[in-house]
Structure formats: C-alpha cells, structure tokens
Symmetry: C2
Subunit: 124 residues, 2 copies
C-alpha cells in the first residue's frame, strides 16, 4: 500500500494500539523514512516534529513498540498499528498511554515508571 | 484543558474509538471551532482539510458520533474520543472503521452499508 504523505507536508499520523487490550497508546507522525523503517524492522519509528529527526520509540527508554498488525485508512493518509509495548508504558511521562488524562485534566491511567529515572532529563 | 493548535497550523488530530469494543474508528482533524462545538454539543465535529470547512460527522449519513469520554495526550496536541457510533459505521466507504484494510490491502472489516445509497455521490 502506498501512503499519501502529501496532505500533511510529508507526514502521516500513526496511531498505536495495544494488540491485546485495544488500549490506544499514542499518536506520532511518520515521514516516508520512518514508515519504511517500521516496515523493515518490525519496530515503530517516528519522525519528531519538535526535534526534527527520525527516532525509534524505545531508543532511550527501552520501551520498544513491536509491530503486530498494520492498518491503513480509507484515504491512505493515516495508519493504525497494533503493537506489543515493551515495558507496558508508551508515554514518556511514565504512563501506559499518552492519553492518561481526561478532558478535565483528571488522571485516568496507571503510572508505570518514573520518567526521571528512565530518561535522566532527556525527553524521548 | 487547553489544546495546543499551533504545532499543526491550527489543527489537532482527533482519534475516535468505540466506547464499548475499543475499536479505533477514524482519525480526523479539529480546529479550535470544531473542538469547541464537540464539547458544546456532545457530538464529534471535524475540520475538513480537503473541503476547507467545519463538519459534523454524520451530517450527511446520519452516522453521528456521540461523545462518551475525551482524553488529551501528554503534549496537549492530540485527543482521543470514546464514542457511540450511530449506524455502527464510521467510514464513508461503508465499513465500521476507516482502518478496514491491512498494510497489504486486504479487507479486514465488516461492510455495513452501501455508500452510493447513503451519500448519493457526496463524500462525507
């Protein structure tokens, strides 16, 4: 399948979902290179808009995302990746999911690790 | 919670997920107005990048998305909305989910309606 990277200046949003529980873990962006590396390696790669670089999820924390199944949406401009999440935490703040707060700011998720201990000041 | 619309030229990605089954249904973009209308009305509104206009999901098809719970990610730049999907189909191609194909193009989802009958040529 060929993705349409043109609608978002070279990027597509990639949603990751726990392949067992169905929990939505995070949303990142992929450029063409991140997409190809994800397909090649079976691990999820993203393109960081703030750091302007390619990165593999887990390269600092060890919390790698192993690809189980990939879906492409009807417009070929978004992907949904079912993954196995190493360390049971996708969020750099130490939670299982990046969507750990509800719209009122209330924390609704489990904290798995202390980010200071894992990243030592770096922000994955 | 205040969303960061600046990282994506006034938009944030919004993921919708079936509140009962956990199935990821679609990803759309919201501008500030779509976000506010979603909060006000309890139904999901998006901003269409291709048609350059605000729209309520279901305004043509009747397949409205009723908000059950909203989550905001760690960077305040993406939202995850658990919804009740009217008509059991989010995709304008008639499937339950917009992510109805795997990466090889194989259809993995259930077709619920015939888009020609529902939209009569319009593309919601």
């Amino acid at each position: 399948m060929k993705l349409n990277f043109e609608k978002l200046n070279g990027l597509v949003p990639a949603i990751t979902q726990d392949y067992k529980t169905g929990k939505v873990l995070m949303l990142g962006f992929m450029n063409k290179e991140a997409w190809e590396k994800t397909l090649e390696t079976g691990k999820v790669w993203y393109y960081s808009r703030t750091r302007n670089k390619l990165w593999m999820k887990g390269e600092s924390s060890g919390n790698v995302q192993k690809v189980k199944e990939i879906f492409v949406d009807c417009d070929d401009d978004t992907v949904l990746i079912k993954i196995e999440q190493a360390g049971n935490a996708a969020c750099h703040e130490g939670y299982e999911s990046c969507f750990f707060r509800d719209v009122k700011g209330k924390i609704k998720d489990k904290k798995v690790f202390d980010p200071k201990k894992v990243y030592g000041g770096k922000n994955e």
